[in-house]
Amino acid sequence: MDHFNLHPTSRAYHQEVIILKKVQSLIALLAIVLLFVGCTSPSASNGQQETNNTSGNEAAPKVRTIKHELGTAEIKETPQRVVVLEFSFVDALASLGVKPVGIADDGKIDRIIKPLADQVTGYTSVGTRKQPSLETISSLQPDLIIADWKRHKAIYKDLQEIAPTLVLKSLEASYEENVASFQTIADAMNKQEEGKQRLAKHEQIIADLKTKIPASDAKQSVMSAAVRKEGFNAHTSSSYGGALLEKVGLTNAIQDPNEAYAELTLEQLLNINPDVLFIMKTDGEQTIIDEWSTNPLWQQLNAVQKKQVIEVDRNLWTRWRGLVAGEIMVEEAIHHLYSSKPAAQ
């Protein structure tokens, strides 16, 4: 009664042969299609060159060991050619006055926030953050790669073969973790002093901004949410942006120490009912808010009644998670809430 033992004359055997043949013909078809797709898509870069022997041995460089999420990296002297695979690392390098040679910018140069655009001109795009091109990275002959713990864990070994690699927390990481990543980058760039100063400046900016919020207003609950065509993704108190807003004294409407993000329905939003709602969206994009705002229930929201629904730039508010971006974000939030200008809805 073994159904794998098929006799060549049995009907099942014939059936299997037919099916196999059909599968073969489909695979052939598929191969042709893939070949076609592969030929038409832009090739990433010229071939890999010798990357290892860039620094000779004669200088006897000082090797520093930097600890990161997946181990340690041996860094010789001060890295000159740095490739970064997440935006917060661009922010960190810019804060330290370093221009990265390569950035995983999702192939879109306008993803670089305006205040930093001038400081990083002339970089090479190494593809998307999700799927950076190893070939392009190695063609840049970097002496340091900074990768994200969430996204690039799996390619850590490949990156290491190209250059010493730091794997740090950025995506879905908390505010503290992002600050820690900044410090590690400062260490790796041999700019400990600059790093300390920059952090002190950051603290000062945040403290100054905090004074602009009337003490009586701390009770207002604030929610920031990334909106898309199909979803409403609220950032909780443990998200980067949420934590930063809390730091200046704005209470996040969702206090959740574990989950940084919460996908909400209109009903759940009504239930939480924040006083202030920052809508993080990409300009000109259709979002779920277009639909929700036509619903009579939308008018029942506190934030709507108080005219405190504020549209902000999703790129700056959610994708960057750096010191510079964070400072601008808080400033924007406070400007919208407490300047005489009426808040735009």
Partner: protein, 342 residues
């Protein structure tokens, strides 16, 4: 003479079983509907729900019932009915117990084309995406139909061929998502099958196609019964086999396609429901189809309730719930099907 009497008796007992099943379904449906509308982020009492259903007032609870929960549960009802009936039709025209939109690559095909359309033609409206879903459903279904020898292959072969195509198409979808992270980031959630945030607009998209598909299926039910007895038998009874297959396939594409366009590929409804229904009312499709529609709706109404409590206070996609219920059942059928063909 005795045979005839027995036949008539048999007929009558079938009819009785059908009516009892229908009654059970209607009770479950009614109770589920009320529960679904009253349970959630904030529980609303059943009396408020009933009041909100029949009177227009502008209190917050009534608005929640009218504007959020009612359209959502109706979307669940129609998608459940569509997918269950699509599954039943597929099982009849392929005469294969494992056939259903998920295993036949129909859902995966529809998802692939819907995701490609959102990437390539971002200006498409939801109404237009329905056509992408139809195209994709046809594509996925035809590939599996072709490989599995018109669905005549042994159930296990069909499952393997179907799942292979399913995973292949899904991997293409994943690839698209990976390279277009930004245009597709709302797609990820949808891909598991989700009906939250569905409102009257979605229902408006779904309704005409559902009615066409369901009415078409009921009209075809007698022919499907003949077909499920085998091609030769069906031909000798005067059925136009090719036409029934083609028309049935078209109905599957409409029913599964519009459901995927609105709520993503919710799996296993088309497998689970028709089998349970057949256990209760037998294999006459005049009984199987209406009961499948009813119990498909019932399944999704309750699955939707469960999806609110899995990761409370956050909601989970309904597709997770149907997969949890459906997977063991699928394995059981595959095992049983493998045995009976030895």
């Amino acid at each position: 003479m005795v045979d005839q009497q027995l036949g008539a008796l048999h007929q009558r007992s079938r009819k009785l079983a059908f009516l009892m099943t229908l009654l059970l379904g209607v009770i479950l449906f009614g109770v589920g509907l009320l529960l679904n509308v009253s349970l959630g982020t904030s529980d609303i009492s059943v009396s408020t729900v009933i009041q909100a259903l029949f009177f227009i007032d502008h209190s917050k609870d009534s608005l929640i019932v009218q504007q959020i929960r009612l359209p959502r549960v109706l979307v669940a009802v129609f998608i459940g009915a569509n997918l269950a009936v699509a599954g039943a039709i597929m099982q009849a025209i392929t005469r294969n117990p494992l056939a259903n939109p998920q295993v036949f690559g129909v859902n995966a095909g529809a998802s692939l084309i819907v995701v490609s359309s959102t990437v390539l033609l971002p200006q498409l409206t939801q109404q237009q995406l329905v056509y992408s879903a139809f195209l994709g459903a046809a594509l996925g279904g035809l590939i599996v139909y072709y490989i599995s020898d018109g669905g005549n292959a042994r159930p296990a072969y069909l499952a393997i061929a179907g799942m292979t195509v399913h995973f292949f198409l899904s991997s293409l979808t994943q690839g698209l998502i990976m390279f277009n992270e930004n245009t597709t980031d709302s797609v990820l959630y949808w891909l598991v099958g989700a009906i939250e945030n569905r409102n009257w607009n979605h229902l408006k998209i779904l309704l005409p196609w559902s009615i066409i598909g369901l009415v078409g299926a009921f009209l075809l039910s007698r022919s499907l019964t003949m077909l499920s007895m085998g091609d030769d038998m069906a031909r000798s009874l005067g059925a136009r086999v090719g036409f029934i297959r083609g028309f049935g396939g078209l109905l599957v594409i409409i029913l599964a396609g519009c459901s995927v366009a609105v709520a993503g590929p919710i799996g296993f409804v088309g497998l689970l429901v028709p089998h349970i229904v057949r256990l209760m009312v037998g294999s006459d499709y005049r009984y199987v189809l209406p009961c499948s529609a009813l119990f498909g709706a019932v399944l999704l109404i309750y699955a939707d309730i469960i999806s609110r409590y899995i990761a409370y206070p956050y909601e989970s996609p309904i597709g997770i719930v149907t997969a949890m219920l459906g997977t063991p059942f699928f394995l059981y059928l595959a095992y049983k099907g493998g045995k009976s063909h030895e």
